[in-house]
Subunit: 418 residues, 2 copies
Amino acid sequence: MSLHEDMLQMGDRAVAAARALALLSSRKKSTILEGMAAELDTQRATLKHANVTDMEAGRKAGLSAAMLDRLQLTDARIDAMIKGIRDVAALKDPVGQRISRWMRPNGLEIHKIRVPIGVIAIIYESRPNVTADAAVLCLKASNSVILRGGSEALRSNQAIAAALQAGGAKKGLPDFSIQLVGTTDREAVRELVQLEGRVDLAIPRGGEGLIRAVVEQAHVPVIKHYKGVCHVYVDESADFKMALEICENAKCQRPGVCNAIEKVLVHEKIAAQFLPELAARLTARKVELRGSDAARAIVPTMKPATDADWYEEYLDLILTIGLVKDVHAATAHINHYGSHHSDAIIAANEAAQKAFTQEVDSATVYVNASTRFTDGGEFGMGAEIGISTDKLHARGPMALEELTTYKYVIWGNGQVRK
Amino acid sequence: MSLHEDMLQMGDRAVAAARALALLSSRKKSTILEGMAAELDTQRATLKHANVTDMEAGRKAGLSAAMLDRLQLTDARIDAMIKGIRDVAALKDPVGQRISRWMRPNGLEIHKIRVPIGVIAIIYESRPNVTADAAVLCLKASNSVILRGGSEALRSNQAIAAALQAGGAKKGLPDFSIQLVGTTDREAVRELVQLEGRVDLAIPRGGEGLIRAVVEQAHVPVIKHYKGVCHVYVDESADFKMALEICENAKCQRPGVCNAIEKVLVHEKIAAQFLPELAARLTARKVELRGSDAARAIVPTMKPATDADWYEEYLDLILTIGLVKDVHAATAHINHYGSHHSDAIIAANEAAQKAFTQEVDSATVYVNASTRFTDGGEFGMGAEIGISTDKLHARGPMALEELTTYKYVIWGNGQVRK
């Protein structure tokens, strides 16, 4: 079979599996998920053996130490995958929920019901645990899944996917509910995201290059998880102590993640007082500071910031600082240079708070809190398949509910249209 | 300026307009919409003059009588556009609505708030009234809009868009809230749907060719309104009188629309009784009947149906009829051959009703009612920008709420992540 025929067959099988999955009860799905968790546990040796082969090939191919670390499957990581499955099994099933219901004057009763999306394609890089995490979240919402992981993790991913499918099948998981693309051919990604009528949604997870490639090739809907260029704006009405703590937390607590801040904007009226305190606090945490001309006039030890700095996601202990004349200038700056992910205002003034929350066009907008809370777990969703920087269908942390759609079921007693 | 630069400028202007629109109050938007309605009334002569030029060019270009009819702007059609604007002005504003709200253990209060999508591109064909209908719905939900109509209606569309923008501007509509692509160059569509970061959503409205072209070129999210291959399944438990009336209504009341049925499936146990009655009823309404071999064994006067018949949207007085062995065979057939738009079961048996509503993977699923009710107006939405056959973001009739997204606004008092 050609690659094209291969992918069409995968798509057809995924559609058939999705139809069967849509009819499973919540209890049945929990049993299946437990079967998967148990099988991962049973197949530990197989998983680690496959991973050793990937690791050896990775070392030969010259992967960096950081990449090799992400690739490695340890017992602790297998434990985490197993725990993750059991956590998801315990979450509330979104499928079948009645979102709303109303009656029309002609007696038709319209029910808007939450249903699975159908077939979801996940395209991701390096970490093999994504194979389990993503598949299990999709399945809990009764979707079948086609996985396409990074080539360096192919054997590990195959072992995990096979264990999940086998463990689930023992408890009644429909065939082909979890499929993994078995080739490292890059054309397979193109084929996958052009499977209109078979794949209902593609979710790329990884670097900007991967996401751009998927967006440019896709004919099916894509939900993107782009970078996070997040801001804190410190208003003239801010409590300095609170502002300092939030800036430090949002920058330093885990600098390598998308909801860490990369920029701080300070109201010009308080800059002379606040900036030296901020600089001292962050310098003590080994943050490299870059400043606009106005900011450097107050703290000359900062490096000069270029225009490119304002667009950049450092994912590192680097922060760019600028001054703004008021909250509106701050929101205009954030909307222009930011990535519509997570932005915060520190302010006591209610008018400034309101202007900020209304004007900033981001998935999550914070008042007097750290941007680091943009996370499915922190939101109380219990899990997360990513953080959408798109506006369509899902925005911000994306969990089980966002892996569903709806249909209208309409109950009549013979109504015809006049 | 090159076409590319032109389109980038349109995109930038649309983004700026969207930011301003997002801050307008409901009352202000109503005043603006009334200004638009009044201006269309004032500019009647200008609109009709532009339309005469389009009509003359259309006649010379050999457009069919049906196409010329769709192109024509009469006083009645201008009246309908004006009434449409006033109807939309009177609808409830979805923007700013709090969808949900919850408190986290750390004291963070999370509000999920309905907000505009931003910039919406509408790509459509022939009927100039779409220019007003689509623009006004987008605006009511505080979105700016970039319109790209059919080349044959360019002058009419330009006159309508100019009147809307001018009439709105008198009441405070931000500049460039309504823009129309002024070139008939086909490359403009490609440029438009590749304006990532500027255009948030593209909605193609028209034939399958237009929709496919948009889907294949787009880098921005697209919501599609594909064809409607709708079914009625007549179960063995059906009330015959109800089934006959619904089949007749769904086929004949307005055969040229997407929610009219194209196929009827009949339970084989009742076929010998029911099919002759159905054939008589529909033949009297001049419907051409095509049947499967099994159906023709009962009513031999039907033409033989080919496999292609089952996929086809006739939009005409033609109906294909087949037999199925039970409700599950009916739903499998519908999921395979249908277009996931609107499908109905006629049945008294509750188990059959339940199986049908659960198994059919369509935007709207009816029990004992005509499929013709799939419509924003009939659903009580007050308006409609289309009927989505997609599953992401919006499914089924798409009105004001579906032209919004949400953002999370999170209220804290200094929370940092531990």
